[in-house]
């Protein structure tokens, strides 16, 4: 406890020095050195010491490039608050969220019959004495073959609780983790997989059986995602759209080894952390953050004192081309 004693002493000394000042200052406690560890995805800092005269300007907004799909042309640029997409990695919070989701996804429907639920007569099997055998009260006894289970599984809710603000923070932490690693690819709205013209023609004309269609899509998706370095060899890809897109969802179901496609309402934190990269529509990203910012905005109707953090704002739009 020597360390604690020393800390108390230093705190006391700091308190004394503050008390000596003429004006009141809120004491700022710096985090102990041991907790200031480097984050895994943190950008390398060139000089960690900073002059006291130099002001510290942390990043408040981060850019998000909106790509076209599948050519991945950078089309427009939006900015998001650093509190939305540039949070530090907190593995503990991500762990809490994933466990919370796992608990609440458990079906909890396993149920074994107890001795009172096993059907049959409760008559005494044989007399208490005189048979030379063990005494048996009823054939439903857990000791008997075909009897009830003494401490078997029962229907129950495995769900646990997690504070909404923590869960929302986890959600944005997961997005930030992807963003920092360059694994969050935001596309224009209407994300879908274009299939070749000749294939669609023949499929509609009924020239291909279902097996042939599936085999074609499997090969096609494998080649496209392979060329983009998004496929199986590069950790698969999760596509997130606002609604079910016919070609994309069917293709990813058929070629599931290369990735998966999810609607916004089916996504959870674990999905965001699973595959090699997340490909998401820009409006879906915005909606996702809007739904998960309870720790940043208040729902109580009082005059806002603080300026609310706006969701991604467009800073560079893709030019609209005049028709020929």
């Amino acid at each position: 406890m020597a360390g604690k004693g020393m800390r108390s002493l230093s705190e006391a000394m700091r308190g004394l020095s503050l008390a000596a000042q003429t004006c009141r200052t809120v004491p700022v406690r710096t985090a102990p050195l041991i907790s200031r560890r480097s984050m895994a995805t943190e950008a390398p800092v060139s000089n960690i010491t900073r002059s006291v005269t130099e002001q510290w300007h942390p990043i408040t907004t981060v850019p998000v490039t909106i790509h076209s799909f599948p050519s991945l042309e950078p089309r427009s640029l939006e900015t998001y608050s650093a509190k939305h997409l540039y949070l530090p990695l907190r593995r503990d919070i991500l762990h809490l969220a994933v466990v919370y989701e796992g608990d609440n996804t458990r079906q909890g429907t396993a149920q074994a019959k107890t001795r009172w639920e096993v059907a049959g007569s409760h008559r005494k099997v044989r007399p208490q004495k005189g048979s030379g055998k063990a005494r048996v009260g009823s054939k439903q006894s857990p000791l008997q073959r075909g009897g009830g289970k003494a401490h078997g599984p029962r229907n129950r809710d495995f769900g646990t609780k997690l504070n909404r603000k923590v869960y929302d923070l986890a959600w944005r932490t997961a997005l930030s983790y992807r963003y920092r690693r360059g694994e969050l690819i935001v596309t224009e709205d209407g994300l879908d997989l274009p299939l070749p013209e000749d294939f669609l023609q023949q499929a509609q004309a009924g020239l291909l059986t279902r097996e042939l269609e599936d085999a074609f899509i499997q090969k096609y998706v494998g080649e496209i995602l392979g060329a983009m370095q998004w496929g199986k060899a590069h950790g698969r890809t999760t596509f997130i759209t606002g609604e079910e897109r016919m070609n994309l969802f069917t293709a990813m179901e058929v070629a599931g080894e290369n990735g998966t496609a999810l609607e916004l309402e089916d996504v959870d934190v674990k999905d965001l952390l699973e595959t090699g990269r997340i490909v998401i529509e820009k409006s879906v990203l915005k909606e996702m953050i809007r739904e998960h910012r309870s720790d940043l905005v208040t729902t109580i109707a009082v005059p806002a004192k603080k300026k609310e953090i706006t969701l991604g704002s467009l800073v560079y739009p893709y030019p609209k081309y005049a028709e020929n």
């Binding site: 050519s71 640029l77 059986t209 893709y318 609209k320």
Partner: protein, 431 residues
């Protein structure tokens, strides 16, 4: 066979990237797609839409063709009693039947799969890896992005700006002229042209090659494609907001060399000089290119003249970084993700980021690449576990062991169906 619930839409291209010449027509489709995507449709889960998805900039270089479905004709086998071949022996059960035909691997045959189905991204198909070429590409990207940022901020030049940012390497003259356009670090360390007239030659080259005159010879049509009168009201509004945002975002870069646009004096002598130099370069330009990209030797020669000072210049403006990243992606195929771009503050760090070779997937590869244990004679690194068989092979005993095992009818690898010694169970009592 599943039903295709939707009828075909108008035939258009399906997959590919944009090319500068086609970008105007194709981008209209992108706008239409975005607006129509809000309508929801109910459909069966396992179904394919036959209406073509437009990805915005879509232009097919080679239209997909030649998808060959299997023939629907069936060949009927000869009846067994009509077979005249004396070598024919009828099968006694199904296992003996020979398998003929089938559709497994139908698409693996290139003749059936057809051509033109490859993914074509925004950048080149193969990433540029040569460090010198990458450095020249970054330099050119910086020059062009600076031009886009300074000279094309007018709201009626947004299309021209996008054509500039989306164009490929083009003729060698462009790269040569870009390399002659001197970039410096300004008073506050920010990236600047070395003087207000420095980029005149580059502008002239771009106007000649990137914005070629239309068929009717009207040079101004592209550069002034969107006059404000022609714009739809919503577009106009957006353009205005963008212009406002851009003005807001302009940082000291602009302030340093405020271009007196009113005083746009045409420096005729310089322009003529530039044209002469360009023509001269064009004559020589042929050997500058390999597969449309500047060749490594020429890039190295250019780098010697460029020096290193420009690499220390800082880049902080978000939109400018976006321009640079887009140019780099188009020229080299390297995508710099936003999360990394935030931390990159100098021209040199951009180069470092894309020159860095991809991380090795395996530790053994990493060790081999870095030649870590090369100096230690008693250390060897293997890409996988060294098994007992490997050890036997190293001393040349494995061949003998294999022969002995095979001679006794014992399994060479593994234990086949032979269990552990039964005595072991007796001794340990384990089940």
């Amino acid at each position: 066979m599943r039903h295709l619930p939707r009828l075909r839409g108008a035939v258009s291209a399906s997959l590919c990237c944009s090319s500068p010449t086609s970008i105007r027509t194709t981008a209209v489709a992108a706008v239409a797609t975005a607006s129509s995507s809000t309508t929801t449709q109910s459909f069966q889960r396992r179904a394919l839409s036959t209406s073509v998805v437009s990805s915005g900039a879509v232009e097919i270089q080679t239209p997909p063709q030649g998808l060959k479905p299997p023939s629907k004709e069936w060949k009927v086998a000869v009846r067994p009693d009509q077979i005249t071949d004396p070598a024919y022996v009828p099968a006694q059960d199904g296992l003996e039947l020979e398998e003929v035909g089938g559709l497994d691997g139908w698409w693996e045959n290139p003749a059936n799969y057809g051509a033109g189905k490859e993914w074509v991204g925004f950048g080149p198909t193969e990433k540029v890896t040569d460090p010198a070429v990458l450095e020249v590409a970054v330099y050119r990207a910086l020059v062009e992005a600076l031009i886009a940022r300074r000279e094309m901020t007018r709201s009626d030049l947004t299309v021209a700006r996008d054509i500039l940012l989306s164009s490929g390497w083009g003729p060698a003259t462009l790269t040569i002229t870009a390399a002659k356009t001197k970039l410096i670090a300004g008073q506050h360390g920010n990236l600047l042209f070395n003087g207000t007239q420095e980029h005149e030659a580059m502008m002239a080259a771009l106007e000649k090659h990137t914005f070629p005159a239309k068929e009717n010879g009207d040079q101004d049509t592209i550069l002034a494609a969107e006059s404000e009168e022609n714009l739809e009201p919503e577009v106009k509004e957006e353009v205005e907001t963008v212009a406002a945002a851009e003005q807001e975002a302009e940082v000291t870069e602009e302030v340093e060399t405020t271009v007196a646009q009113d005083q746009e004096v045409e420096v005729k002598e310089e322009a003529e000089e530039a044209v002469a130099a360009e023509q001269e370069a064009e004559v020589k330009g042929e050997d500058y290119l390999t597969d449309g990209v500047i060749s490594a030797e020429k890039a190295q020669a250019m780098l010697k003249e460029l020096g290193h000072e420009w690499k220390r210049a800082t880049i902080r403006d978000t939109i400018f970084k976006f321009f640079v990243a887009k140019r780099i992606q188009k020229l080299t195929g390297h995508v710099i993700p936003d999360g990394k771009l935030v931390a990159l503050a100098t021209a040199g760090s951009l180069i470092k980021e894309i020159i860095k070779p991809p991380k090795a997937k395996k530790l053994a590869e990493e060790i081999e690449n870095k030649e870590i244990f090369q100096s230690l004679p008693n250390v060897r690194v293997f890409p996988r576990r060294v098994t007992p068989i490997d050890k036997e092979k190293m001393v040349g005993r494995w061949k003998v062991i294999r022969e002995e095992l095979e001679g006794r009818g014992l399994p060479v690898i593994g234990t086949a169906n032979i269990d552990n010694a039964i005595e072991k169970k007796w001794v340990t009592g384990a089940e």
